[in-house]
Symmetry: C2
Subunit: 724 residues, 2 copies
């Protein structure tokens, strides 16, 4: 890519961003769009335009984002989001501090040498670009100028250590503060118990759990909730909810039909058979009411059966204070470690109920199997995709699906299909990959949504770094130099070293595209806006349906963090080799911080709260990127035949040491709750009944006020001893 086309691409991206930002300014001021641009505020019962959002100034949102404090973020979007911003600002800090030193030092050093020019003069097959002159590739072999690059590698590393240390400390405080909060949070009073051994003859699992915990915690044990096999009851519950929605919809349709011309309205009808298309015609509202009545009694019967007979070997146990729960979650209860394993209870909303009864060694086994599968996917995903691509030619498709023949024979469609079919399998695969990885992570037996997301994010990180970063770099280098290598195989290494900085241009464009177009789309929310308006117009009849249509979702850490990580990896690895990447990295994280600050305050609603447990995961991966950077630096400087290359070797060791120390010092406080945090006083005495109820899955919660039926599996009040 030459310099002018690079500038063109950059310019285009910038124009797109500006246009999207203007669209955002214009659309977000329309009252009908508030649910798309301010859903978080609306759901929290706030005025969407508070703080003067509705001005004509297109930069008002920037001012708002800049002036928001960390506490605002925690209040609006939780600790996890605040931790995500710590991540963004830490990386931003690393790149800014690196850039401030590296750009003024390295660019002149590189630009005034002439290795690229010389190699071009010798060999006219190499393409030459203005940008390459500003990179390390332009420095001659064995030159003393390489000292500057060596120093730069140290500078970047130590800036990273310093800021990462500060960030870990800060996040640790954030987490402690959140855990100390005087608000009553149900999950802080509960632990999740798995691997319950079979109950003795004549005892239900619930009795077994109750007697076990009552004997260990005579004073602080409150109650237990045994996990049940809810498949059947969930099915009935979902059917019931479906009919309730249909009823609401039918009533809305009926109300709308009451126009002045037809004041009685026309009652909607449906057919009882397949998809409402076949069978006898019935009145909707009556039919649904009847169904609902049937289902409610069926549900109640099934609830009783489930609670009594479908108890599984897992339970949630409640304690009357936070210290008891936090300490129980960290203690070994049974002599055999694979019995009565106890861990912190996740929030009720993020429990993965179906995983709870998976046994100890099965979890271990599943984990290793999943790791192997993921490793195979990461390294060999191109093979099945290649095979599938080979078979999905137009001619094959026509043979298998003869009815598409008339469509395919149209010339225009044929051209488009022929262009995209080969990549179709790849596109589908990449689109489905996060879902696939999430499925695999859940298959490990992970009990909470947030943990599954961390696991997915980790897998996706390795996929992107290995395939995008290393794939493109090595692929590009090998392709460019293929002809030369054919002639003189022993020039492989120097040619590789000279052309690796060349891939930098590709990544510059890649990062620029990502931030201008990606964050432009993010800010303007054009796609959700269009979908919402389409749904509103053609599908939604009731308030509930409308609310569902604009429900904003969460920040989506599972893919967002790995994508950011890819940019960090690229920026770090090229920071010294081609320092021009740094301003682009700074722009990516700066713009990202701004745009996402806006989105976190106004748009996204977090779907769980893990009190910053994502941070150690992020920290480790930033250090992995740093290690990759240091190793590539050793390689690059080595290839330049620099005598003092060994001066770089301590860096990877320092990184590993830094990781080790951070891990030792901070990690356990993220895995467990520190008792000093849990022992803080609460605002009010916890209403234990409410804490307990928070964990009952909706399909099992009774509609009635009393809970006689729960006595079987759920409740066992034991306010004894000191609570008398």
């Amino acid at each position: 890519m030459d310099f002018s086309s690079f500038l063109t691409s950059l310019g285009t991206s910038f124009v797109i961003f500006v246009v999207l930002m203007l669209i955002f300014t214009w659309l977000s001021r329309k009252p009908g769009n508030t649910v798309v641009y301010y859903p978080n505020r609306i759901l929290k019962g706030m005025d969407p335009w508070e703080g003067g959002s509705r001005t004509r100034n297109p930069f008002a949102w920037i001012r708002e984002a800049m002036s928001s404090t960390e506490q605002d973020i925690i209040n609006m979007s939780g600790v996890d989001t605040a931790v995500y911003f710590v991540f963004l600002s830490t990386v931003l800090g690393i790149l800014v501090l690196s850039g401030l030193v590296l750009l003024p030092v390295l660019l002149p050093v590189a630009a005034t040498d002439n290795s690229v020019k010389m190699s071009q003069a010798n060999d006219n097959t190499t393409t030459f670009s203005e940008l390459d002159k500003l990179a390390m590739g332009n420095v001659k072999e064995k030159s003393n100028r390489l000292f500057a690059f060596l120093f730069a590698a140290y500078w970047v590393s130590f800036v990273s250590y310093y800021l990462l240390w500060k960030a870990y400390k800060h996040v640790s405080t954030l987490r402690a503060d959140a855990l100390m909060s005087p608000d009553v949070r149900p999950e802080q009073f509960a632990v999740l118990v798995r691997d319950i051994p079979p109950a003795p003859e004549g005892q239900s699992i619930k009795d077994h759990v109750d007697s076990y915990f009552k004997s260990i915690y005579p004073e602080t044990f409150y109650r237990s909730l045994v996990v049940t096999d809810n498949k059947e009851v969930n099915k009935i519950y979902e059917e019931l909810e479906g009919y309730k929605k249909k009823l609401a919809r039918a009533e809305a349709v009926y109300d709308q039909s009451k126009t002045t011309a037809n004041p009685a309205g026309s009652r909607p009808t449906t057919k009882t058979g397949f998809l409402g298309l076949l069978g006898t015609q019935v009145d909707c509202i009556d039919h649904y009411n009847e169904k609902i009545k049937d289902l409610i009694s069926k549900l109640e019967a099934e609830q009783k059966v489930t609670l009594r007979e479908k108890q599984l070997c897992a339970a949630i146990v409640f304690f009357t204070n936070r210290v008891a729960a936090a300490s129980a979650a960290q203690s070994l209860h049974a002599q055999m470690v694979d019995n009565w394993t106890v861990m912190e209870a996740p929030e009720p909303r993020q429990l993965v109920w179906t995983n709870l009864q998976i046994k100890f060694f099965q979890r271990q086994l599943r984990q290793y199997i999943v790791y192997v599968i993921v490793a195979l996917i990461i390294f060999f995903y191109l093979i099945p995709i290649g095979v599938i691509s080979a078979f999905t030619t137009l001619d094959n498709l026509k043979k298998i699906l003869p009815f598409i023949k008339p469509v395919v024979n149209i010339a225009a469609i044929r051209t488009v299909l022929e262009a995209y079919l080969p990549q179709l399998a790849l596109i589908v695969f990449l689109a489905l990959l996060p879902t696939l990885l999430m499925f695999l992570s859940k298959a490990e037996g992970i009990p909470s949504q947030s943990h599954a997301i961390r696991a997915t994010s980790g897998k996706y990180f390795y996929f992107t770094v290995l395939n995008v970063f290393i794939g493109v770099t090595l692929g590009g280098a090998l392709f460019k130099t293929f002809k030369q290598i054919e002639k003189r195989p022993n020039t492989l290494i120097p040619v590789l070293a000279n052309s690796l900085p060349g891939s930098a241009t590709f990544f510059l464009t890649f990062v620029a595209l990502k931030f201008f177009v990606g964050y432009g789309l993010e800010l303007s929310r054009i796609v959700p806006l269009i979908i919402y308006h389409l749904k509103r117009k053609y599908l939604c009849k009731t308030e509930a349906e409308l609310k569902e249509a604009w429900s904003p979702g969460d920040l989506g850490y599972a893919t967002r963090i790995p994508n950011d990580m890819l940019v960090i990896t690229i920026s770090l690895c090229y920071s010294v080799i081609a320092p021009l990447i740094l301003p682009f990295g700074v722009l990516y994280f700066g713009l990202g911080w701004l745009v996402l600050r806006n989105q976190a305050l106004k748009v996204y609603v977090p779907s769980f709260e893990s009190y910053g447990k994502m941070w150690p995961h992020i920290h480790t991966r930033i250090i992995a990127s740093l290690l990759l950077f240091q190793l590539t630096m050793c390689g690059f400087i080595g290839v330049k035949k620099f005598y003092y290359t060994p001066a770089l070797f301590p860096l990877p060791i320092v990184s590993l040491l830094f990781w080790y120390v951070c891990n030792k010092k901070f990690y356990r406080a993220f895995a467990d709750t520190a008792l000093e945090a849990a022992s803080r006083e609460l605002k009010e005495n916890p209403d234990m009944e409410q804490v307990f109820r928070a964990f009952i899955p909706p399909s099992l919660s009774s509609e009635k006020g009393d809970d006689d039926q729960f006595e079987d599996a759920l409740s066992q009040v034991s306010r004894m001893g000191s609570f008398a």
Copy 2:
């Protein structure tokens, strides 16, 4: 070594054993020796000859040992000793079951082949032994007979897995039973707190600890005991105790001097100067009494100063029940992991006080430094010893120490010295090695004696296995084949494989010597007997001195277990290659079991109780031996050019998996106390004051009844809340 000299060596060892056993039978029946042969019974206040020990039957002790149950061992010598017997009997089981199948199967298979004879016919430099015919070396290359050896390797491995699994389960139950015991044990009510952060201005460390734990455990916190810098007070205390002993001795001497001829007796005198040799002559009893009076007041003053002003950043915290203590020991207390680290308190008698105040990261650092030092010692200890040996020639010694010249010039002494001087450094090193390793282990900052012993045992295991086993095997093989290799270097591997089984004879003799002579000496206790009688006759004057003279010590796991491990490693590694080793291994562990059973019941007094924490350590090292066996088998069968060698490759993987599963299932219950064990009811309500007093070091415990002075640093009664 040929067959007849092997038999001679075996016979000699056996005769020595029989003689030592007879000596034991004879000496142990003399009443004056009971303190040497039955000290454990005497110290427990039992009749030394209960159960008919004093018969003329030389095998009575065997009957007693055989009929003793595990519970007897636990009662007499604690859980750790019972675990040691589980270890002995497990290994015995492995070797017996292996031998039952391997001897009848492999010996005929090997003996009827003739590879050794052939190689002898071809090459008359190889020495030939009858024993070698019974080993795998006698099987021809590529022979189908190797299937039998392959099967044997699987048999030995699976027998080991089965018995190790059973043993781990059994030991886990032993530990749980001991922890559930209804007796009040002080260490079960206490936790050790280290890395206490600096106290806020105006607070003592003790106030800091008290307020911290009271806020987390308002109901179960009892009291804290801050660790103080006891150097000064210990010095005074030891001086005081020394004078007390001297006084008792002087009084005994005075009493003895009151014969009928001289009824008044002569009061002993001493000089006040250096070692009682210089200075003015004084009356002993008066002088010592005066000194003691001085020192007591000095000690009391120093105690006050120590308790008030020398508080360190570690403490022992007491709880009013076992569950609270067990759970606190496993929980994270502070958000920063390197503050307020809490662990189970060791028994008071095994606390390593001087290590308690070492900080978190310093402990980590010390550990790694010690590991590096130990690795260097294991691999390179021969270098400094070689250097020292080179310098300690007689001529050099004469130059440095001219006064030894006349002694050295005597011909007889000169010969002996010249024979032993070269090995002197090595002998001294090997004798001091356990002490050195113990010193290094304590330098890691380990807080308890039993943990330090486990650490020493591990280090010693690696030393013996690497140097004795691998050293002798490879050394022997290389030495024998050196000439052949010189001529035809490419025959190295086959020659190595053929001569490795040859080292088996060396190890047969080694094991036989170890059990016959070693256990003979152990049983007969000749050395302690002689020392005791000498001391009694010439040194001891008082009862206390006598008691010290016959105090038996403990089983000495730090060197005993690594030595047993070496025998297991040898037996396992040669079990298939030269199955004749198996009966010797069986004899070693069988005799060992018998002799040590006797010693555990009657002689040794355990110096600590760690509730079987040694087991995971033993288990891991047996599996390490098994792995070494499996890897050598892969190598040996491979060298025989056997086509099905890869059929052995799964074995090491299975071993690692087995280790992993055992570790996951059982290990944590050995690191921590399971709450279900701690929650068992106690026989009586614990006397917390007594529990607390158990941890006060003798130099700090007041002679008076009241403990006003402890208020400063030790006590803070807080019987609040539910204990009102």
